[in-house]
C-alpha cells in the first residue's frame, strides 16, 4: 500500500495549537499587567495572585479526581489562567481579607462555573468573572465598590501603601479635578482592581494576543468603539453630572474596560464563533457597560456586561450561522396565478 497517499476525511491540515499552548500564551500576555499590579500594590498583590492561582489549581485537581478524569489535565494551564484573571479583577486588599475572598472566588469559579457545567470548554460564563461577581455578593463589605486602596505612584511619587488609605476610582469620583489621560493610561495613582489600572500593560498583552492570532481583533475594537461612541452620544443622568461624564476618552481609559475587552470578552469558550456574531457580542457588551455606567446603580459594569452577553452567546451563534457552501436558503414556492 502506498503510504504517501492518505485516504481519509478532513481535516487534513492541523494547527499545532493545544490547550496548554493557548493558556500559557494568555498567561504570558497577562504578565506585564500582573507585574505592574505587583509594583502598584506590593505584597498584597503577590498574596492575592498566589492565593487565587493556588486555590484554582487545587480545586481543579479535586474536581478532576471527583469526575475520575486524568489528573494531568490540571497542568494544561486553564485553571491557572482562571485564577490569574480572577486575581486581576479583584480589588486589591490586605491579606487578612484577600485570602478567603480570593479562595472562595477561585473555588466557585472552578468547581461551580466550570466543572458543574462539564469542565473545560463547556462552561456558559467566563469562570473568572463569575467568581468575581460571586465574591462581590458574598462579601459586600470586603469587596467594596466605593473604597479602594491607593497604589504606589510611578516614578518618584510618594509610596502610600497601607490598609487605611483608600480613595474612589476614576468612575466614582465627584471631585472637580479628575486624573489626566496619561495618568489613566499608565495607571499612575489610579485606584481600581488589581490588574485593570495600567492600560499600557494590558494593551501590550492584548496586541501580542491579536498578532499571534489567539484572539479576534474585532471583539476589543467593537467593544471599546461602542463604549467610545455611546459615552459621547448618550445624555448623562441627573443634574450637574461630573465633568468627565460625557468624555469618551476618559471612559475608555477608566475602569476594567481594557482588561475585559482583551482578556474576558475574547474567551473562546464563552463568546460566539463567527465574525459577525463576535461583532454583535462586543457591541452588546459595550452597550451594557455604558448603560450601567450612565444609568445603573454601580459605577462600573464591565463584569456584568460580559456575563450577560455570555448568557446569550448560544442565541447569537444561532442567528449568525453561516450558509453551508453549496446550499441556499429555502425560497418560497413561486405563486401561480
Amino acid at each position: 500500500m502506498n503510504q504517501r497517499l492518505l485516504i481519509r476525511s478532513s481535516p487534513h491540515l492541523r494547527e499545532r495549537d493545544s490547550v496548554p499552548r493557548i493558556m500559557w500564551s494568555v498567561a504570558a500576555a497577562l504578565s506585564p499587567a500582573a507585574a505592574m499590579s505587583i509594583y502598584f500594590f506590593g505584597w498584597d498583590a503577590v498574596a492575592l495572585l498566589a492565593v487565587s492561582i493556588a486555590t484554582a489549581e487545587a480545586t481543579e485537581v479535586a474536581c478532576l479526581a471527583l469526575r475520575k478524569a486524568p489528573l494531568a489535565r490540571a497542568l494544561d494551564g486553564s485553571a491557572a489562567v482562571t485564577g490569574l484573571l480572577l486575581a486581576m479583577v479583584l480589588p486589591p486588599m490586605p491579606l487578612s481579607a484577600s485570602w478567603y475572598c480570593a479562595a472562595v472566588g477561585s473555588a466557585f469559579a472552578i468547581a461551580i462555573v466550570k466543572h458543574c457545567f462539564g469542565g473545560l470548554g463547556h462552561n456558559i460564563w467566563n469562570p473568572a468573572l463569575a467568581g468575581r461577581v460571586f465574591v462581590q455578593f458574598a462579601y459586600p463589605a470586603q469587596v467594596s465598590l466605593s473604597q479602594w486602596m491607593v497604589p504606589r505612584a510611578l516614578m518618584g511619587g510618594t509610596a502610600s501603601l497601607g490598609d487605611a488609605i483608600t480613595q474612589a476610582t476614576p468612575l466614582f469620583t465627584e471631585a472637580p479635578i479628575h486624573p489626566r489621560y496619561l495618568d489613566l493610561f499608565l495607571g499612575n495613582g489610579i485606584s481600581g482592581s488589581l490588574g485593570e489600572t495600567c492600560k499600557l500593560a494590558l494593551l501590550v498583552g492584548g496586541i501580542y494576543l491579536i498578532v499571534s492570532r489567539r484572539i479576534d481583533w474585532r471583539v476589543p475594537l467593537f467593544y471599546v468603539g461602542t463604549v467610545f461612541a455611546l459615552t459621547a452620544l448618550l445624555p448623562a443622568r441627573g443634574e450637574g453630572p461630573p465633568p468627565w461624564m460625557n468624555d469618551p476618552f476618559y471612559h475608555v481609559l477608566s475602569g476594567g474596560l481594557f482588561l475585559g475587552a482583551f482578556f474576558m470578552a475574547t474567551d473562546m469558550v464563552t463568546s460566539p464563533v463567527t465574525p459577525l456574531g463576535r461583532i454583535i457580542f462586543a457591541a452588546g457588551c459595550g452597550l451594557l457597560v455604558v448603560l450601567i455606567r450612565f444609568y445603573g446603580a454601580y459605577p462600573e459594569g464591565v463584569a456584568y456586561s460580559i456575563i450577560i452577553m455570555n448568557t446569550i452567546t448560544p442565541l447569537i451563534d444561532k442567528w449568525c450561522r453561516p450558509r453551508i457552501y453549496g446550499s441556499r436558503p429555502p425560497r418560497p414556492a413561486p405563486r401561480t396565478t
Partner: protein, 231 residues
C-alpha cells in the same frame, strides 16, 4: 377562573403522579409506609415538590423548623380527614374538597403560630405559612395516597412525608445559616482566632444562595443514590 385554577392543579397532580412510583403495587409494612416519605420518596430531594417554601424560609434553622412542624401537622391531619371522607367525596370535585380540608388546617396552624411563636419567626414565615395550602407535596399525598387508602396508612404516610419534608428543609436551612450567617440556631459556631476564621458569605442567605445550596444538595443526593445503586 376557578375552573382554570382547578384544571391547573389537575395538570400539576398528573405530573406529580408521573414522578411517583405506583402506590398500590406490593403490600408495604406499616413501617415502610412511614419511612418511604423520608428517604426513597423524599418530597424535596427525590420528587422535587414543595420547592417554594424550601427556597423561601430556609434562611435560618428556626423558621425552617417552624415551617416543618406546620407542614407535618397539616399533612397528617388532612391525610386522615381525606382518607375518612374518601368514599363520600365525589370524584369530579375532589380537588376543591381537598383544598377546603387543607385550607382549614392551614388556617388553624396559622392562628396557633400567631399566638405562640416568637414574632421574629412569625415574620420570617410571612406569606409562606398561608401558602402551605398550595404546597404540592400536600396535594400530592391527598390525591395519590389518602384518597385511595385507609386511615391508618394515610396517617403514617402523612407523618412520613411531612417528616421527610421537614428534615430536608432543615438540612438546607442549616447549611445556609451556618455558611451564610455563621450561626446555627442563632448560636455562632465560628472560632475567632485568625488562621481558621471563616467569614460568612452573605450571598448564601440571599435568594441566589437558596438555589445554589438546593442545587448542590440535590446533586449530592443524586450522586449518593447512583453510587449506591451501582456498587
Amino acid at each position: 377562573m376557578g375552573f382554570a385554577i382547578v384544571s391547573g392543579f389537575e395538570i400539576l397532580l398528573r405530573l406529580c403522579a408521573l414522578n411517583a412510583s405506583p402506590q398500590t403495587m406490593p403490600e408495604r409494612s406499616h413501617f415502610q409506609e412511614f419511612s418511604k416519605g423520608i428517604v426513597s420518596q423524599n418530597a424535596v430531594f427525590v420528587l422535587v415538590v414543595g420547592i417554594c417554601p424550601t427556597l423561601a424560609v430556609t434562611t435560618g434553622l428556626k423558621s425552617a423548623v417552624a415551617m416543618g412542624v406546620g407542614v407535618i401537622a397539616v399533612l397528617t391531619c388532612s391525610n386522615v380527614i381525606i382518607s375518612l371522607l374518601r368514599n363520600v367525596i365525589p370524584r369530579e370535585v375532589r380537588i376543591p374538597c381537598f383544598i377546603v380540608v387543607i385550607a382549614s388546617f392551614v388556617t388553624m396552624i396559622e392562628i396557633t403560630f400567631k399566638a405562640y411563636l416568637p414574632p421574629g419567626i412569625n415574620a420570617a414565615l410571612g406569606i409562606f405559612l398561608p401558602l402551605i395550602v398550595v404546597n404540592c407535596s400536600i396535594l400530592h399525598r391527598a390525591e395519590s395516597f389518602a384518597y385511595k387508602n385507609d386511615v391508618g396508612r394515610s396517617l403514617l404516610d402523612g407523618l412520613g412525608t411531612g417528616v421527610g419534608f421537614a428534615l430536608a428543609i432543615c438540612l438546607v436551612a442549616t447549611v445556609r445559616e451556618a455558611l451564610g450567617n455563621g450561626t446555627v440556631w442563632g448560636y455562632s459556631w465560628l472560632p475567632t482566632s485568625w488562621p481558621v476564621e471563616y467569614v460568612p458569605a452573605s450571598i448564601l442567605i440571599q435568594a441566589p444562595g437558596a438555589f445554589l445550596v438546593l442545587g448542590l444538595l440535590l446533586a449530592g443526593f443524586n450522586w449518593l443514590r447512583r453510587t449506591r445503586e451501582r456498587p
